[in-house]
């Protein structure tokens, strides 16, 4: 390989699963967005640090009352099918996502749009029904991917044949095997992307991914479990990069069921768990958090000192609450997420050490969603919430029940108020309050935000992750 032209060599990438669909509007699956990120562009996008920067829109203005958003599109952008990008495409895209027939799971984020106008080919004007701070974040998220109007009109099957303006075109998709992305030569960032072809190999078995990376059959493995790190460290050909994810790992508590309707018991749980240990063992390490916000988020506030690891304190609280071995507590674990299962086993052990009788029950993902999450039929459960670009995405709905059945009017109204408030400082002040209430009332045991370790062959540079969206960005990637 050494003598050949590096550009013609494809980049072999390991993807852990097959995306269900590649339609960016019809799903909430992370895998879809991870692939679509290279095929589609959004009007604006978060950069590596989470700051929103121009993408298809070169610039944008917001009216004083925060209701009118005007975006100025980049010139000369072309879709993969040759259509030039115009404001009509943008309008059609956002109309599609709020259309009931699309059945988008994130429709509500765009429901605030009252109307979309296209004064000229390169200008789009959104008028909102009410002030809505998270709007820019919504537009920058995967759901905001811009689709060509001509194909929307003909009912094109975006689920299996995505067509966007992104740096790569999808040229082949063998489901459950590989997705081949080929360079879009007309991409609007001149000189990018660098690599001609990216093969996303769908490899569910992590040890195969690791071996592939070690033997050079794979160039990038984006999710390396902590247990495999020492192995990769030994190899001189591999660099390991560690990023903090925007995940909020929790053990959720059903606050309406006894004994957890007693806040003391919930606090006891928080004392009983050695969070750093769980992060290090079950997850790939991470930062402990003390409230319901991911560690890297601009709105994060530190409450970790509130409930340090203190089993004695936990025992004492439990004694006060009168909870002992005779209370059987059921912890439901989603079977398809091994890290959560492992964490669950650790929680079980830690809780039994403070005298709680916790029984583990595994369930499959569908059952988890419908029974545990939507049906709130659980005592304890373990899950990770993906952080959102905007805190409203993370917090909306809490205080009014949600799956943890936590009711707190003050928190609920503050969250609603914050969504309509503009300006970082003002919002931060409100959210600090909300996070404070949540930290104290503990509808969850907050564990932390985990790291993600990626393994990259030394001859590959410029691979970027967008942590807030948990997506990959290949635009700068190249072979040395």
């Amino acid at each position: 390989f050494a003598s050949g032209k590096t550009e013609s060599k494809p980049l072999n990438f390991a993807l852990s699963g097959n995306p269900d669909t590649l339609d960016p509007q019809g799903t909430s699956g992370t895998l879809t967005f991870q692939v679509d990120k290279s095929i589609y562009d959004t009007l604006t996008e978060p950069n590596e640090k989470g700051v929103i920067v121009p993408a298809l829109a070169e610039s944008w203005d917001v009216s004083k009352n925060s209701l009118v958003w005007t975006f100025h599109l980049r010139k000369g952008v072309k879709f993969h099918n040759g259509d030039p990008l115009t404001s009509a495409d943008v309008k059609a895209t956002f109309e599609r996502i709020v259309d009931k027939k699309t059945g988008s799971p994130n429709k509500k984020a765009f429901d605030v749009i009252k109307s979309i106008e296209t004064p000229d080919d390169l200008t789009v004007v959104f008028t909102l029904g009410k002030p809505y701070a998270p709007f820019l974040a919504s537009i920058s998220s995967g759901w905001g991917a811009i689709l060509p109007k001509s194909l929307i009109d003909t009912g094109h099957d975006f689920a299996s044949e995505p067509v966007g303006t992104g740096p790569y075109k999808m040229t082949e998709w063998v489901r459950d095997s590989k997705i081949v992305l080929t360079k879009n030569n007309d991409y609007w960032m001149k000189g990018y992307p660098k690599i001609n072809q990216i093969i996303m190999n769908i490899i569910p078995e992590s040890s195969v991914q690791i071996q592939g990376l070690l033997s050079g059959q794979l160039d990038i493995v984006y999710m390396v479990s902590k247990d495999n790190v020492p192995l990769l460290q030994k190899s001189p050909d591999i660099t390991l990069t560690k990023n903090l994810t925007s995940l909020i790992m929790v053990m959720a508590i059903n606050c309406s069921r006894p004994p957890f309707n007693n806040v003391k018991v919930r606090q006891a749980l928080n004392y009983a768990i050695d969070k750093q240990k769980v992060l290090d063992t079950a997850y790939s390490g991470g930062k402990v958090i003390g409230t319901f916000m991911d560690y890297g988020n601009a709105y994060y506030k530190d409450f970790t000192s509130l409930y340090p690891y203190n089993p004695e304190k936990a025992k004492q609280l439990l004694k006060e609450a009168g909870v002992g071995k005779d209370t059987v507590i059921k912890m439901y674990l989603p079977q398809n997420y091994p890290p959560h299962v492992k964490a669950g086993e650790m929680y079980q052990d830690m809780l039994s050490k403070v005298g709680l009788n916790v029984k583990i029950q595994m369930v499959d993902w569908s059952t988890w969603i419908s029974d545990v999450y939507r049906g709130s039929k659980f005592d304890l459960t373990v899950i990770g919430h993906t952080g959102k670009l905007d805190p409203n995405g993370t917090l909306s709905g809490y205080g009014k029940g949600k799956y943890v059945q936590w009711y707190n009017d003050e928190a609920a109204s503050l969250i609603e108020k914050a969504a309509e408030t503009m300006g970082y400082k003002k919002r931060k002040a409100i959210y600090d309050k909300v996070l404070g209430i949540m930290a104290e009332q503990v509808p969850f045991v907050y564990v932390g935000s985990s790291y993600r370790t990626s393994g990259i062959r030394k001859n590959v540079t410029g691979f970027r992750m967008t942590p807030n969206l948990d997506t990959f960005d290949f635009r700068w990637t190249e072979f040395k």
Partner: protein
């Protein structure tokens, strides 16, 4: 005419099987917890959005209506469209079948290739070195989890000695290791049955006749005894082959193969109703067909058994 009637009868039975199975499966998957709309929606969607997704998927109407819709399609050999990937179920199955079929065929072939001679040798030389070898092999075959064997095979033949690809699909080379991993475990089972059955047959008097004719031991074992011994072996092999045609989930996972097993597995996890239904009906057809072949084979193996 008789042949036609016979085929017609078989076909009728197949249709009946499909009808029964599709009805059972239809209601079962709607009674168990889990809702495809929730899977599509993820955990952040609101109730209104979920309802919209249900409308889109067609799961908002009463179950009876859904049932009639599905049956109407089924009689036209239309299995519907996957709720999750929006692809026709038939297309999805068709894409996966060649790989799964070749894998199953190769796997069962390897399994038989190992098991039958070893089983015969074990039976002939009971409690001898061959037999111990056979025993140890079959214990390993049954106790070694296939993921373990798979990964070891990959480490050996794709990493240490890179003869076979580590992942990917499309060429026959990709099938070799998984077929070995599959065949290894199957062979263990077939071997045990072959041995037991052969021991039984070898104790019968017609073997003495065969010896009296001066036939070689090989002929006696393979031509005379084995044919008689094969019935339980064929039964179990047939069932295993059927299972393999429905996909081998763990093997597909370890070897990153896009087979039917993973397709159906995710369909179940995601409650992709049409795909589950289609998958189950598909497997039912496969089982009806392999068991039909097995039944035919019975009457070849033992002429006293007649298919009515």
């Amino acid at each position: 005419m008789k042949l036609f009637l016979f085929i017609l009868k078989r076909f009728f039975r197949l249709v009946l099987t499909i009808l029964i199975i599709s009805t059972i499966i239809f209601f079962v998957i709607r009674v168990i917890p889990g809702d495809p709309a929730l899977v599509v929606a993820g955990i952040d969607a609101s109730n209104a959005e979920i309802q919209a997704i249900r409308v889109k998927l067609g799961t908002d109407v009463p179950v009876a209506v859904q049932y009639v819709r599905w049956m109407k399609k089924l009689v036209r050999f239309d299995f519907g469209t996957s709720l999750i990937s929006n692809q026709p179920v038939m297309t999805l199955i068709k894409q996966r079948f060649p790989l799964t079929f070749s894998l199953a065929l190769l796997g069962i072939f390897l399994g038989i290739l190992i098991a039958i001679p070893l089983g015969v040798l074990s039976a002939v030389h009971r409690w001898s070195l061959w037999d111990y070898f056979g025993m140890v092999y079959s214990q390993l075959g049954m106790a070694i989890p296939s993921f373990w064997l798979g990964i070891i095979l990959l480490l050996l033949f794709s990493v240490k000695f890179p003869i076979f690809p580590l992942f990917g699909s499309g060429s026959i080379k990709n099938l070799f290791l998984p077929a070995i991993a599959l065949g290894f475990a199957r062979a263990a089972v077939i071997l045990r049955l072959t041995r037991a059955s052969m021991v039984d047959e070898l104790s019968k008097e017609y073997i003495i006749t065969a010896r009296a004719k001066g036939l070689t031991e090989k002929m006696i074992h393979y031509k005379h005894a084995l044919k008689n011994a094969l019935i339980p072996v064929v039964t179990v092999t047939g069932i295993q082959f059927g299972y393999m045609l429905g996909g081998a989930i763990i093997i597909e996972q370890v070897f990153s193969l896009p087979g039917l097993g993973r397709l159906f597995l995710f369909a179940i996890y995601q409650r992709d109703f049409p795909l589950i239904q289609g998958g189950v009906v598909f497997i039912a057809v496969i089982f009806s067909f392999t068991n039909f072949l097995v039944d035919m084979f019975y009457s070849f193996l033992n002429p006293k058994i007649r298919i009515s």
